[in-house]
């Protein structure tokens, strides 16, 4: 028996209100534009501004009918080079490869920062500062430079995604590696555990929840990086390429469809991280689960050992 979330009802109501408000808003935004189009004598298959509001080529807000048509045009056929599914897949892969690359490098940096105070003192200020800097600005240049040295295709996009995702991951993992309390470290010392054992049995597992928290931030950042990288260079595939193309062609409806699709892509990618987190950190899953525990397990009102 799964219980229905108390959020569901209110969320539906809010969604319905938004949808209901969309129609009048759409007319309100489009009628002046339609009027202008009629006044200039554009060839439109409609007579009044009210009718034309749903049929403009560049609407301020597209009508649901237009969105639906645009969606049908851009979604199918699924394997077409110019349809959204294939391009979204390419962008998603670039993002994920970038994230994994960032995690790999981030782990080494984090270990360096935890193991050596000198290393931390020398590099941490720059890593922190770079988080306050619009790193994305480097993307267009990086793509061009990488292209000059023969790194082309999806790889430079993945590298840029990694570059942007690296900082939150390095900081997150370093925090996680430092998170065990002094008593736990003392415990390992009483076992005469080697440095390596302390990392393996204590620091690495303790850092996994932090890694996932960082992943959730980094995933969105990496996706932005991948899309910007696709925009700033000659790309043949990817959401960014579609955005740039339709932006140049001023196809407003298509841009709306792509925007909504990439929103879904972003949500799906973060959901993927959430799913992996639940899979790989079972000790947290049981803690956050709303389902009641088996009877003999319900022995405590205390929050936990952490």
């Amino acid at each position: 028996m799964t219980r229905i979330s108390p959020h569901l009802g209110p969320m539906l109501v809010v969604a319905l209100i938004t949808l209901a408000l969309y129609w009048p808003l759409m007319y309100l935004a489009n009628i002046p534009a339609a009027q202008r189009a009629l006044d200039t004598g554009a060839a439109l298959p409609c007579k009044t501004a009210f009718e034309c509001a749903t049929q403009l080529r560049s609407p301020v807000l597209p009508s649901p009918q237009q969105l639906w048509n645009g969606f049908r045009n851009l979604m199918f056929p699924l394997n077409s080079q110019s349809a959204i599914p294939l391009n979204a897949l390419v962008t998603a892969l670039e993002t994920i490869v970038g994230l994994l690359l960032a995690a790999l490098v981030g782990f080494f940096f984090a270990i360096g920062m935890v193991a050596s105070r000198a290393f931390e003192r020398s590099l941490l200020p720059w890593i922190v500062a770079s988080q306050t800097v619009p790193i994305i600005a480097i993307a267009p240049m990086l793509v061009v430079v990488l292209g000059q040295y023969g790194v082309q295709g999806w790889l430079p996009k993945a590298i840029i995604a990694a570059y942007i995702a690296f900082f939150p991951i390095a900081i997150g993992v370093a925090k996680g590696l430092k998170s065990p309390d002094p008593l736990s470290l003392d415990l390992m010392k009483t076992y005469n555990a080697s440095n390596w054992q302390t990392y393996l049995k204590l620091r690495f597992p303790a850092s996994i929840p932090y890694l996932f928290t960082a992943f959730k931030v980094a995933m969105t950042a990496a996706l932005i990086g991948a899309i910007v990288a696709e925009i700033s260079t000659i790309s043949f595939q990817g959401i960014g390429k579609m955005l740039a193309e339709n932006s140049r062609a001023s196809d407003v409806v298509a841009m709306w469809v792509i925007m909504l699709s990439s929103a879904v892509l972003g949500i799906l990618l973060v959901a993927l991280v959430n799913w992996l987190e639940r899979l790989l950190t079972p000790w947290q899953r049981v803690r956050t689960a709303a389902t009641p525990l088996p009877k003999q397990a319900r022995v405590s009102e205390r929050g936990g050992a952490g």
Binding site: D181, L183, S184, D186, L187, M188, K189, T190, Y191, N192, A193, Q197, K201, L202, P205, A206, I208, T281, W283, V286, R287, L293, Q296, A297, V299, S300, R302, G303, G304, A305, G306
Partner: protein, 275 residues
Amino acid sequence: MMQSNTPNTHLPSSSLEVRPIVSVRQVSMIFQTGTVALKNANLEIAQGEFISLIGPSGCGKTTLLRLLADLIKPTSGTIQIGGKNPEEARKSRAYGYVFQAPTLMEWRTVLSNVMLPLEVMNFPASERKARAEKMLTLVGLEKFARHYPWQLSGGMQQRVSIARALAFDPQLLFMDEPFGALDEITRENLNLELLRLWRETGKTIIFVTHSIPEAVFLSTRIVVMTPRPGKIETVIPVDLPQPRTFETRELPEFFQIATEVREALRRGHGYEVTE
């Protein structure tokens, strides 16, 4: 300041050896801040004893325990654990340590938490599970082997951490206010259980506490410590009959010894800083 102990008549005679398992000579500990945490401490502990270190905050009882465990090094003096210096003793895994907090690893189940020291110490894989299960049975938690720590109450978590300390069968058990965070009722139950463990396993236990009844109930000897500078005020033998039960707390001798401890603490102005 402190009577140096030669073989001790107040002990359960069965487990006595002449040679002390722990010997502390003229040990001082001065921190970098200048605080004298421990001054000229002398103490000898025989095999099989249950020693309590009691005193208010800042009297150096935890410091003394950490010195024995080689978690810190003394400024001066010598410590011997089973004839070795503390570092050698730690490296030969001579003792188990139970902290104030359970320090269980939240990503491990109860059983695999107890297996942790066995993994670190490279016990054969086949032996680990059997030993851990035996220890869980010893503390009465065999039914909770597959649970995660957060599903257990504070008292149960602390029992797991005791099982973990016993898992590799060390001769010595160091316990640093293990029941300090628990309520009085849970604490009295765990005290009884700890005494049972002590009888069944024959370990030597050194137990830090700031509760006078707890110290009197558990110990064969009580080391009374006082602050500023941290020092050993006196050592009070406890010859209450074994095995001790709930009724032990009602004996007139129990109150007599408790009063003795209280007076020793007052002599060292130990009450000034108690919470």
